[in-house]
């Protein structure tokens, strides 16, 4: 958000979840055959001027379901997995205002439908949603002190204009963190929410059996610890849980990564 020419942040990361339950369109829990999602990714942001930062996110996604064996007479089902490039995000972030204690910016993110939206034998092993996202955001950040500790906080609000009959979304994010132990650690907490406008025409009737690609609503609370190996290199470990939700798996997500700050 605080842009400066020639600076950057680059991260190789991964996140993972596995679920045998999901939240339905009523927000209630139903069972499902255990499925997992494992995403490795490359993320980078680079300041091309003192006001403009380019951001990119390239995921490589594995969706899998283990072999199902039943003793109750239900048919078994062999395991299956799909590995492919996920949906790539490309963004440009423009700094609008900068003051000593806070900064205001806006960004436009283009969600490229580079993933597979009909993977697997039944089309339900999707690594992308098959539609072109356009997310317009306003971001604000500040820094402050509580006793001796310095903190930062940032928040964003965005609208995701989705194509191909998907419902548009509003996205909110709040994050705060502080460096501890002589700046060797950064602890942060995040609250993200996606709320659907439910204005899309897409349904199970014409969505190619998509799972949790449309009308998703979720509020995630997460925490992350970053360890600074050097001033430029850091390692992170994160954990997030869905608080309120519709059309999404009931499972925590675990994440980790190695980052380099230029």
């Amino acid at each position: 958000m605080d842009s400066k020419k020639g600076t950057g942040y680059y991260k190789v990361g991964a996140w993972f979840l596995e679920a045998d339950q999901h939240y339905t369109d009523q927000g209630l829990l139903d069972p499902n055959a255990t499925r997992g999602v494992f995403v490795t990714s490359v993320y980078g942001r680079h300041g091309i001027s003192d006001k403009i930062t380019l951001v990119g996110y390239i995921p490589f996604t594995r969706v899998y379901q283990n072999e199902q064996v039943f003793t109750s007479g239900n048919p078994g089902q062999p395991g299956e997995a799909v590995n492919s490039l996920g949906d790539i995000d490309l963004a440009v972030e423009i700094q609008i205002l900068k003051r000593p204690k806070w900064v205001l910016a806006t960004s436009l993110t283009l969600g490229i439908p580079s993933g597979n939206n009909s993977g697997g034998s039944d089309g339900s092993y999707q690594t992308g949603d098959g539609e072109f996202n356009q997310i317009l955001k306003v971001l604000a950040g500040t820094s402050f002190k509580i006793t001796k500790h310095s903190f930062y906080a940032k928040a964003s609000v965005g609208v995701n204009n989705r194509s191909n009959g998907f419902s548009d979304e509003i996205r909110l994010s709040i994050e705060t963190g502080s460096q501890l132990f002589k700046n060797k650690f950064l602890l942060l907490a995040r609250l993200n929410t996606i709320q659907s406008f439910f204005n899309g025409s897409l349904s199970a009737e014409n969505s190619n059996g998509s799972i949790f690609a449309n009308n998703v609503e979720v509020t995630n609370l997460g925490g992350e610890i970053n360890y600074f190996i050097t001033k430029k290199w850091s390692a992170s470990l994160g954990y997030s849980v869905p608080l309120s939700r519709k059309n999404i798996y009931k499972a925590p997500a675990v994440s980790g990564g190695i980052a380099y700050k230029l």
């Binding site: 339905t24 499902n32 007479g73 239900n74 339900s124 349904s203 199970a204």
Partner: protein, 168 residues
């Protein structure tokens, strides 16, 4: 699992297909009406066969059943149906105007089964493509009306039951 193909006929609300008309007519004018004791389905039309001149045993062969599809999950799935032989001699599952299914269910399939909890050994009618209102499935002639006891709605990717009805 039987592999013959069923035909789906969709009708708009308030407009009934010929198939539905013929079955409705049969159910309201039929004689020897018997009611089953199952929770959701009612046999409405029967033909009778007397075995032997002096034998009191009468075997009834139901020509149609009526019932209600009910959800067994957190997804909306409900609606009445009639399952029987139409005037053309075809076995038809007619879903009523009051039918409603959540469009959020991925890959929902409908089966005829003898196990209310599994499609194993049943007949796969097909993937559900109608989520509201009346529609019909014309079943192959290889299936007898009394071959299967249950209608089962099944989410294939998640391998879970979504709804059912006991036919008889």
């Amino acid at each position: 699992m039987t592999t013959d193909t069923a035909t789906t006929t969709s009708t708009t609300s308030g407009t009934t297909s010929n198939t539905t008309d013929s079955n409705t007519s049969t159910s309201t004018t039929g004689s020897n009406t018997a009611t089953t004791t199952t929770n959701t389905a009612t046999s409405t039309t029967n033909t009778s066969t007397k075995i032997g001149d002096d034998d009191d045993v009468v075997v009834t062969a139901p020509q149609s059943y009526q019932g209600t599809i009910q959800t067994t999950s957190s997804y909306v799935l409900t609606g009445s149906y009639e399952y029987g032989i139409n005037d053309a001699g075809q076995l038809v599952l007619d879903i009523g105007d009051d039918y409603e299914a959540s469009t959020a269910i991925p890959r929902l399939f409908v089966y005829l089964t003898n196990n209310p909890n599994s499609p194993s050994g049943g007949y796969e009618i097909g993937e559900v493509t109608v989520f509201s209102g009346a529609h019909s499935y014309i079943l192959p002639s290889s299936i007898d009306i009394n071959d299967y006891k249950y209608i089962l709605y099944w989410c294939k990717p998640y391998i879970v039951k979504v709804g059912d009805s006991t036919i008889f």
